[in-house]
Symmetry: D4
Subunit: 210 residues, 8 copies
Amino acid sequence: KRNGYPEVIYGAGKTADQIIGIIGSLKRHAENILCTRVSPQKYAVIRVAEPTAHYDELAQCVTLMLKPVEQTKHYIAVVTAGTSDMAVAEEAAVTAEVYGNQVKRIYDVGVAGIHRLFEHLDEIREAQVVIVVAGMEGALASVVGGLIEKPLIAVPTSIGYGTNFGGLTALMTMLNSCASGITVVNVDNGFGAGYSASIINHLSETEDDK
Amino acid sequence: KRNGYPEVIYGAGKTADQIIGIIGSLKRHAENILCTRVSPQKYAVIRVAEPTAHYDELAQCVTLMLKPVEQTKHYIAVVTAGTSDMAVAEEAAVTAEVYGNQVKRIYDVGVAGIHRLFEHLDEIREAQVVIVVAGMEGALASVVGGLIEKPLIAVPTSIGYGTNFGGLTALMTMLNSCASGITVVNVDNGFGAGYSASIINHLSETEDDK
Amino acid sequence: KRNGYPEVIYGAGKTADQIIGIIGSLKRHAENILCTRVSPQKYAVIRVAEPTAHYDELAQCVTLMLKPVEQTKHYIAVVTAGTSDMAVAEEAAVTAEVYGNQVKRIYDVGVAGIHRLFEHLDEIREAQVVIVVAGMEGALASVVGGLIEKPLIAVPTSIGYGTNFGGLTALMTMLNSCASGITVVNVDNGFGAGYSASIINHLSETEDDK
Amino acid sequence: KRNGYPEVIYGAGKTADQIIGIIGSLKRHAENILCTRVSPQKYAVIRVAEPTAHYDELAQCVTLMLKPVEQTKHYIAVVTAGTSDMAVAEEAAVTAEVYGNQVKRIYDVGVAGIHRLFEHLDEIREAQVVIVVAGMEGALASVVGGLIEKPLIAVPTSIGYGTNFGGLTALMTMLNSCASGITVVNVDNGFGAGYSASIINHLSETEDDK
Amino acid sequence: KRNGYPEVIYGAGKTADQIIGIIGSLKRHAENILCTRVSPQKYAVIRVAEPTAHYDELAQCVTLMLKPVEQTKHYIAVVTAGTSDMAVAEEAAVTAEVYGNQVKRIYDVGVAGIHRLFEHLDEIREAQVVIVVAGMEGALASVVGGLIEKPLIAVPTSIGYGTNFGGLTALMTMLNSCASGITVVNVDNGFGAGYSASIINHLSETEDDK
Amino acid sequence: KRNGYPEVIYGAGKTADQIIGIIGSLKRHAENILCTRVSPQKYAVIRVAEPTAHYDELAQCVTLMLKPVEQTKHYIAVVTAGTSDMAVAEEAAVTAEVYGNQVKRIYDVGVAGIHRLFEHLDEIREAQVVIVVAGMEGALASVVGGLIEKPLIAVPTSIGYGTNFGGLTALMTMLNSCASGITVVNVDNGFGAGYSASIINHLSETEDDK
Amino acid sequence: KRNGYPEVIYGAGKTADQIIGIIGSLKRHAENILCTRVSPQKYAVIRVAEPTAHYDELAQCVTLMLKPVEQTKHYIAVVTAGTSDMAVAEEAAVTAEVYGNQVKRIYDVGVAGIHRLFEHLDEIREAQVVIVVAGMEGALASVVGGLIEKPLIAVPTSIGYGTNFGGLTALMTMLNSCASGITVVNVDNGFGAGYSASIINHLSETEDDK
Amino acid sequence: KRNGYPEVIYGAGKTADQIIGIIGSLKRHAENILCTRVSPQKYAVIRVAEPTAHYDELAQCVTLMLKPVEQTKHYIAVVTAGTSDMAVAEEAAVTAEVYGNQVKRIYDVGVAGIHRLFEHLDEIREAQVVIVVAGMEGALASVVGGLIEKPLIAVPTSIGYGTNFGGLTALMTMLNSCASGITVVNVDNGFGAGYSASIINHLSETEDDK
Ligand SMILES: Nc1ncnc2c1ncn2[C@@H]1O[C@H](COP(=O)(O)O)[C@@H](O)[C@H]1O
Ligand SMILES: Nc1ncnc2c1ncn2[C@@H]1O[C@H](COP(=O)(O)O)[C@@H](O)[C@H]1O
Ligand SMILES: Nc1ncnc2c1ncn2[C@@H]1O[C@H](COP(=O)(O)O)[C@@H](O)[C@H]1O
Ligand SMILES: Nc1ncnc2c1ncn2[C@@H]1O[C@H](COP(=O)(O)O)[C@@H](O)[C@H]1O
Ligand SMILES: [Mg+2]
Ligand SMILES: [Mg+2]
Ligand SMILES: [Mg+2]
Ligand SMILES: [Mg+2]
Ligand SMILES: [Mg+2]
Ligand SMILES: [Mg+2]
Ligand SMILES: [Mg+2]
Ligand SMILES: [Mg+2]
């Protein structure tokens, strides 16, 4: 892997033992490792076998960084509507970080109290890529999209109840946004947003190297 | 009908001749009349029989006001996201007007250019009731709802394409709004919003009379 | 907060410890507090830290009223179809009460035994705002809406089975009602209905004060 | 066919010529004939070949009764919510009549003006079977179902707009009704309701014969 | 209640204590009682308070028959596609029985082994009303409907997986059946089918009495 | 193309001129040609350019067979529920034929008159592959599937109304069938069924050659 | 059963005791037995009664083969996109094997790393029938379908999250595939795919026997 | 507008006269103009008023470029699955071009004939951003996504029939892709994809300028 980019394990469908096995074989190739969707219960088993692995409980991510990763000059902003969206946001942020990106977290700036968003607007505008994470009706993506001219990746979350339909409402909001420059990933797909943001952020970094 | 409130005819499922018949019999009781969902084609027939009836082409409403209606002191604000939402907004505005309400129209202030909304914020805040009409992703309802403390009736419109699903996306956005104080009517139901806003607006008018 | 209106915490996505923390900091500003969606299990933890907080098990609400709230002269009627709808109705009623509204509860008057509704019709008609809470097919909203001329906020509940789809059927019934003057909130959103009803009820109260 | 019961042709997917052909061959067996879903355009062609065939434009039914059908002593009540539901109601009524049933039509008694329903309640209660035809939110089925103790067949119609979804809302309302004794047929399936009501009505007729 | 027809309690949303309370007060009026959707756990509590109540574990019904109910001369056939549909079928059968109907159970005759259905065809044809209970794709209703000329009430069950969608597939199959004379109730609504079948069966019984 | 198998053009999204162009260039390679989804209007244009092309109006297929195709010894049975399903069935049959398969058409044997199916059962059982084409509720696939032990390809059609949802009901019925040995293609995809049936039929033909 | 084909028990809706009972009575007729959807918990009970029964934990299948089954000359390829799809794939493979088919398993060759698929392409192409098992977006079926000319049975799995909707996305992908020769079974229906593949594979085997 | 970026008009909901009016007033500010979703009928009217405007019939776009736009060094690849997806692809390509991006079109390389994709793989890999446009099952996005390490914007199209549901199937496929680095826009939203791709492409261009 160029630049120490990690191998990624999707932990959701795997037992702790399966994850330990995969980590073990990747370590033999001296790869950096990101394992997403690891519950605290699974981590309790993994840590016995891999005591140096780092665990981020909110993001539900295990990381094992054996090689240094070159850092980007530009940063990715990760913005959330509410505090309940933080778990998905952290999956995105941790993913971006293990790929060497600088990340700024700007949380709990949803449209119900829109003044908070405006307080952070400059910070959001100066990012190279913006990830907006929102559940409920997901309107924050449209509002931020109307205020910036950078790539915006919208992540609907499954936070909500009733006709929220497990995040479908926020997803549809984001796909139908009247603001331009918004692309969308699957419900709760923090990893996908962090990974895509990283690829975009590296485009210009690479240019600078030349 | 107390205060000259009009009888309402839902024109969508009726022929021009059926509408002419109903208007004729209501006129005999000297009722004011509002007929919604009248296409220009139907109106062309109706105007022959009822040359004094007024037709509003954008709202698709025929009105025939034979008796004066008492005017409210407070006004209802009708706010739209885009210009395409104006037809539904006018159905709401015309409805509110024939029930004696003052109406302020504040159109095309959607979140893709949110500064336009802020220019009109005081006018919106001073209304007694606010109707927000929006298609696409319908995010405007949440943004306005977070900025005011008056009753807000949200009307999703069927404007959009792809996964908009004929207004379902805007409807779901509005029902799941993280802002409080928002209630919702059916897709494109300008009449329902105007009627409910009128009932609310008259609550305080009546009080003042005492 | 004007008039001692409470700060609201949405308890569903928060741990008991997080709620205790928020209550603590709000108390320092001497705010009244309403915390919705608090399970008995969470309350058991909260009561240790906040023994003076009141808990309403049916409404699943914790309240902590440190300042008096001015009472309205008009009342809000909260009407339910069945006994299973009472939990949502109580969330609405408790919300309305902590905002200073008088509330009349009229429960279990669904259309399967419609004579019970007619026995309470005068009480419903004299309310300033009516909240109708119904699951199953939600037909009660249409029936009440056809009998009154006051603002009616309909709350679909997730009570039912089979093709009820977690309240979607009652929601669709209410949005498509052939009676006028009905607006709708999300499935099980008692808080939203109580809050919107309170704003409407206060419109005329404020007038009277002048 | 016992008792002169007609052969039924479903006209929707057939050309006028195909229908003429089928009628011709059925006539050779001296069968009574009911052909549903015949548009005025198709009938204009059919009448040239079959000038004695009767056409009911509202019901969109062609009938050709060559043999007498024994009449029932009890009647079927066909009840509609609105005038737009009449086409479906007539399909049901005409179907019931060609099978020899007495039919009483009680139209436009929807819940938005529920007093009209109560005026006809005795007539509905005395029917042997009741067919309730309703679009929009379909609440009329629940209200009638709560007031009678006879078999009630509910027919949702595709009348409505927005989230009505072509009759799905009324269908779901009827399936989830909190009143007992209601069974349901497909959206706009007047024929199915009329046919099932006829079978039920004949059960007791047959008994009397013995 | 005429003829000793039972009062019905819907047990699903109620605690054992609430059910005991309702049974107690109904007993004071010497009513017969049917309580549906009672889990074995709830019954274990109820039996302590009401040791003479009968419990049918498959049907999940508690019955307490204090007065005799007149028996019908005709019977209702309850037909199932598979053994997994038996719980819903028993709810229908027990309901029909407590209303005094004779019931014949014809189980496990689904279309995958259609010869078994034909073995029981005479028994099904001689019933006054037929209830068909089927999950999966629900095709049995169409097949039986094509073979008989009696009222058929179809009950979709939630048995299945994948795109079965909790019974929606069977429901849609039954509503769209190409056989005539079929009406439908909600998914898993054995009670509703048993109740409606009973009303129909009593129509002819009553005639005979006169 | 081995054995003279035709090149296939999907005509639905193409203009007559585009189709003429593709036919022209394929003819230069002396390929046999099957063009599906060709409306009579398009064919009227194509026939001018390609007067030797054969058009099947019911199947909506244009064929141009320049080379002989070897015939299979076994046949494919194409079975339909109603006459309205014939257009889709013919697309399947014509497709199978241009690939060299013998085809037996067994039409209008739906479950509403199941005796007709049994009259043709031997013919169906002796086929090497069976295609069942059905709209409405699609139950015929289950019934045939329970009676044969050959591969059965089920084709749902969009014939129906109300909750048929453009063929979705028949599709779901077929996917959830309780009979084994059934696989399914997209709604109205006669081509896909005919093509898959042909591949299967040729498996054994090839064997015999060895 | 010809050739020792097993009797199949669908274990999902049955208790361990019911399964033991059915196995017992089938053994008396010396039938081979396949019981699908048996959880390890149920097997723990069954093994006490039937210690010679074989259990495959990944496939969740119990088999009891008392008679030899003739082996096919051709093999069925079972191909999966990811490791999480293996449980469904094994249900298909075990089913095919108990019906006497040779099976080749080619697992974890999804489109995210498409080179792995190409490494196994010859093995897939030489199979008589190919089963493709895939969750997430299910694209593997289209890719394999475009590369082979044998019957392909696609099995969507419920692996995924967010808008995967329990396998619906993969199912729709497979039904709408632009590659020809693909037929589809229900979500997670490994048994159905294995059974249909077996019928197809035996068509040519049978030919050889003659 | 920095760099001569055009003002964009969404032509779908506007009359030709409204579009002419907007173009007129933008021209006064010497803005470049892109007007999307303009049918040939509308363009016939617009060209009279604006004879120098350019019309692209496939893309349905009107452009009026009064000022030069700086060209990018890197290119955007626009890739389609089939020829029917070209209209949406051209909307994306034209949008990208009027924003100054170089564009390479690589059309008709869908997975049914995957060798064509591999022929163009180098060209796709060397793009700075890749737009994949696909209808039917949309599998091409996953396949390309697995082969490149650049940002990929997937555009589902409404091409298909049956259970395609107007592009929903392709959308869901793309959102659930097992390949990383894919973000998605609304069905048929070529403009949105072209615009987002342009923002991303300009990120690195801007860097180079420094
Ligand atoms: N039961 C409820 N349903 C919907 N929204 C609620 C509910 N309870 C509180 N809220 C809203 O949630 C906000 C507080 O959210 P939070 O800051 O996450 O605690 C309040 O201001 C209300 O607008
Ligand atoms: N309007 C209708 N809706 C549903 N089914 C109908 C209707 N009219 C007739 N049918 C049924 O269609 C059958 C005739 O179908 P066909 O042989 O295609 O004309 C009749 O026996 C009825 O069962
Ligand atoms: N009626 C049809 N339904 C689905 N797919 C079809 C149909 N007719 C042809 N096809 C497929 O479409 C391909 C040709 O597509 P095209 O290159 O767009 O003409 C053929 O190879 C078939 O796989
Ligand atoms: N084809 C399209 N699809 C989606 N959005 C578009 C399209 N064309 C233009 N837009 C957006 O519509 C805006 C102009 O909308 P309007 O002011 O209503 O003309 C542009 O700034 C774009 O953001
Ligand atoms: Mg933007
Ligand atoms: Mg507000
Ligand atoms: Mg009212
Ligand atoms: Mg009743
Ligand atoms: Mg029948
Ligand atoms: Mg079979
Ligand atoms: Mg193929
Ligand atoms: Mg990639």
